[in-house]
């Protein structure tokens, strides 16, 4: 086995060694440990392949005897002499000058025996570093508790390298971000099946990753970066990562089991609320409150349906995070496909609040796109337990519509686009007229003026001045009436699609 001096010195056990002089790139094939005074050692050196000579006894003087030793060492093919100095003894300029002249490196080590063992271990067999790392990984896995983060932390300490737990697409789930984006994509792109991956990084080191299998859900990766080119250490680390992968996979499976249990209870709770109708029994309400769902509140339902394959249980936290980052503390319940979710308010949200919530949801959906592409439907504001069921239902309808609406970014909010959709869908049917009538009913109840004003306003292409002129009223009167209409209908007339829906409805009734 051959190794470069720099490789041998890079392992954690030899990091206190100090190369006083010499070429770190020199190739080493053997380690010779010798005890006794320099003169005795000189006599034992015979020519051979490149070696490190470890002086077991501390060097008390860097004198002619040490110089003679350097010369004999040089003649015997020794490329580096490792030694510990007695207190007060340090190789002077003469010693280093001679070492340079003879091309023999000088390596100061705190503990020659330890250094010798480490060097032997690394050179004696290519498996030794791997065995050492794998044993440490196994030991750390045994000692770690059920928590993934703790397990990862113990493994990092045991192996001496920062570790990263990556998901199937290369995002860091836990641990240090040891790889940059380029490194991660390179790593994931190079992975085939469940085989460990090793790719060179830009700084001359190696990136290594081993698959973490849980048996359920998508595969994760355990990755580390070896800063320099250290083939033996890299190979050993890869083996250790595979061992560690089993341990981490086990912890992930445990976490998954707990998640699934929670998901099941959430899903069945929502199903029971749906079945309960307008008045959930107190026992059910209690359970909902225990689950952290405030029923006696105003809700906006959100239905999130992935457009590709997804794991509702594993990715629920991604959904929660994405909405939380946009200021929306949502409840999300795993469904067969995607999630039924909602956001609750203690008091009735204003139009502005609803609009900003809607904008936040849209952004959250956009944030998620790189990882999960979704159709998102949003319901109208509804109050109470039954309202929750209703708005979640509306959101589900909206999400279905969103499937075919790439132009809105697969996002449909019932409050706005929903009206237009409903109208367009219903013009061809017998149900359109009653629907239109029902839509505009609040205006009828407030007197014919509002309906007429709305009709002219929409006919004139949303011009307040024109409408005022036609009706022969002051423009402020028109503005007041429009505000009244918006309030009664709960719509935003600034939205062109809403205007279209109302326009159709008002024309139908005329």
């Amino acid at each position: 086995m051959t190794a470069r001096l720099s490789e041998l010195l890079a392992v954690p056990g030899l990091q206190d060694a100090r190369l006083i002089t010499g070429d770190p790139q020199s190739r080493i094939e053997r380690v010779l440990g010798r005890s006794g005074p320099p003169r005795v050692i000189s006599a034992t050196l015979a020519a051979g392949p490149p070696a490190v000579l470890v002086l077991m006894d501390p060097v008390t003087r860097f004198d002619t005897a040490f110089d003679v030793l350097l010369r004999r060492a040089s003649q015997a093919g020794i490329v580096t002499v490792a030694f510990a100095s007695s207190p007060g003894a340090e190789p002077g300029r003469g010693t280093t000058a001679l070492a340079d002249r003879l091309h023999v490196g000088l390596l100061a080590v705190p503990e020659p025996w330890e250094a010798s063992i480490q060097l032997h271990e690394q050179l004696a067999s290519s498996h030794a570093p791997a065995v050492r790392l794998i044993t440490r990984a196994a030991q750390a896995a045994l000692e770690a508790g059920p928590d993934v983060t703790e397990t990862l932390h113990r493994l990092e300490t045991a192996l001496g390298y920062p570790l990263s737990l990556l998901d199937a697409s290369g995002h860091t789930l836990e641990g240090t971000a040891v790889l940059d984006d380029a490194g991660r994509s390179l790593l994931i792109a190079s992975s085939t099946g469940g085989h460990p991956v090793q790719v060179p990084d830009r700084d001359g080191g190696q990136l290594v990753a081993a698959a973490v299998g849980t048996g359920i859900g998508p595969r994760a990766w355990l990755a580390a970066a070896v800063p320099r080119s250290l083939p033996m250490e890299t190979a050993g680390l890869l083996g250790a990562l595979q061992t560690a992968g089993i341990a981490v996979g086990h912890r992930l499976a445990l976490a998954r089991l707990a998640d699934e249990r929670d998901a099941q209870s959430r899903t069945s709770l929502l199903d029971e609320l749906r079945a309960a109708g307008s008045a959930p029994p107190p026992e059910l309400a209690q359970r909902a409150i225990r689950a952290g769902w405030p029923l006696d509140a105003w809700h906006i339902g959100i239905r999130i349906v992935p457009r590709g394959p997804a794991d509702p249980i594993a990715q629920r936290s991604d959904i929660l995070d994405a909405f939380a980052r946009r200021g929306l503390a949502i409840q999300a319940v795993e469904q067969d496909t995607g999630w039924a979710a909602w956001v609750s308010y203690d008091s009735e949200p204003s139009v502005t609040e609803v609009r900003s919530a809607s904008a936040g949801m849209r952004r959250a959906q956009a944030d998620l796109r790189s990882r999960i592409a979704t159709n998102v439907g949003v319901g109208s504001v509804q109050a109470g337990a039954s309202g929750l069921v209703r708005t979640v239902g509306e959101a589900a309808d909206a999400a279905r519509l969103a499937t075919n609406r790439p132009e809105t970014g697969h996002f449909v909010h019932i409050d706005t686009l929903g009206l237009a959709q409903l109208l367009l869908a219903w013009t061809q049917t017998d149900t359109f007229l009653p629907a239109a009538r029902e839509l505009l009913a609040p205006l009828d109840r407030a007197g014919g003026q509002l309906l007429i004003t709305l009709g002219h306003y929409l006919d004139t292409g949303a011009s307040v001045a024109e409408t005022a002129a036609i009706l022969d009223v002051h423009r402020n009167t028109v503005t007041n009436r429009l505000a009244q209409i918006q309030r009664l209908l709960g719509v935003d007339l600034a939205d062109p699609e809403t205007r279209l829906a109302l326009h159709l409805a008002s024309r139908t009734l005329r």
Binding site: D63, T64, A65, D67, V68, S74, G94, T95, A97, R101
Partner: protein, 356 residues
């Protein structure tokens, strides 16, 4: 390197500079500041005439002399000139035996000139020998102690006039007694040992040392370069370059106090010197290159002047001169064991200067 090769029989004022320069080289970075005594001898140059006797002469007894203690203090507290003669008198008086000649215990450093001054004052001849061939930090390392001597009588005289005479049964005892006496009484002392029977110690002396010091000094003065001088003396420039690192350990018990590294800007070679009071061991690019008992001397590359082991600093541009050590040390394993690197606490085999 025989005793007769260029042996001198007389030292006059004209020889002092060569002797001083040679003794400094043979001092191997130790042995004290030669310049100090050279200056002291200068006024007497005109009339200076000292007889030099070969080791195989018919002389019967001799006294070995040197300086002990801290050579740094010697610079701050210069000798009065009476110390060596007083020490010789002291051993003569104690033993009741007269010395017929004096001999430097170590040729390296200031002892050579001190012996000349002593001989001049006492009218005794100098024996062309010493007991180290370079400089040594310890008395018990003198060559005559290798096979043991029956009786040891020695005297020290400090600059304040304090005289101590010691009878000791072993060199180690002598060494420890004198060290204890020198430290509190001024830091250095003149030392005299003997009188010794020449017949008894003749085989254990490093022969021709005084002549050799003069020869080394002349070669340095006559030759164009240090390298040429080294070649003429059977030695070589073993390393050169800029001092990039000097470490001195606070460890007075050990012989080896420090180490210095040189970097040769031309070849890129990295040399290292191991040093105590003197330079002891040299490696070049981790290859052992020179060691005691050979002579290792560090010279300023620009001036050619020797740089003491305690003076070497980072940034010095130097040349390291290696000359063969005294053949006596390699003549017998018992001798070598007292002069090789291990004796100085350096766990390495001795290297012969002639090894390329």
């Amino acid at each position: 390197m025989g005793a007769d090769a260029g042996a001198v029989s007389r030292i006059t004022g004209a020889d002092i500079d060569a002797l001083a320069a040679g003794a400094a080289i043979l001092g191997c970075g130790g042995g004290g500041q030669v310049d100090l005594l050279r200056s002291a001898l200068r006024p007497r140059r005109g009339e200076l005439a000292v007889r030099v006797e070969p080791v195989d002469s018919a002389l019967r007894s001799l006294v070995a002399v040197t300086f002990l203690g801290s050579t740094t203090v010697l610079g701050e507290k210069p000798p009065g000139g009476f110390e060596l003669p007083t020490a010789v008198e002291a051993v003569e008086r104690w033993t009741g035996e007269r010395a017929e000649a004096v001999v430097p215990a170590q040729i390296g450093g200031m002892t050579a000139l001190g012996t000349v001054s002593l001989a001049d004052m006492s009218g005794l001849p100098i024996l062309d020998a010493d007991m180290v061939g370079r400089a040594t930090p310890r008395l018990d390392q003198l060559s005559i102690f290798t096979r043991g001597v029956v009786r040891l009588t020695a005297a020290i005289v400090t600059t304040s006039g304090l005289s101590i005479v010691i009878d000791a049964s072993s060199p180690a005892e002598l060494e420890s007694a004198l060290r204890g006496a020198v430290a509190p009484s001024g830091g250095w002392a003149a030392f005299a040992l003997g009188p010794l029977s020449l017949d008894r110690v003749r085989a254990d002396l490093v022969i021709g040392s005084v002549s050799r010091a003069i020869r080394v000094g002349r070669a340095l003065a006559d030759q164009e370069s240090l390298a040429a001088a080294a070649a003429a003396l059977g030695g070589r420039i073993a390393a050169r370059g800029r001092v990039i690192d000097v470490e001195r350990h606070d460890d007075p018990i050990s012989f080896v106090h420090g180490t210095a590294a040189l970097s040769d800007p031309r070849s890129g070679a990295v040399a290292r010197l191991e040093m105590g009071s003197e330079y002891l061991y040299l490696t070049v690019d981790g290859e052992p290159t020179a060691s005691v008992p050979d002579v290792i001397s560090v010279l300023d590359a620009r001036t050619g002047g020797p740089i003491g082991a305690d003076q070497l600093r980072s940034g010095n541009h130097v040349e390291v001169l290696v000359l063969p050590g005294a053949p006596l040390w390699r003549s017998d394993p018992a001798f070598l064991a007292r002069a090789d690197p291990r004796f100085y606490g350096i766990d390495a085999d001795p290297i012969t200067a002639t090894t390329p």
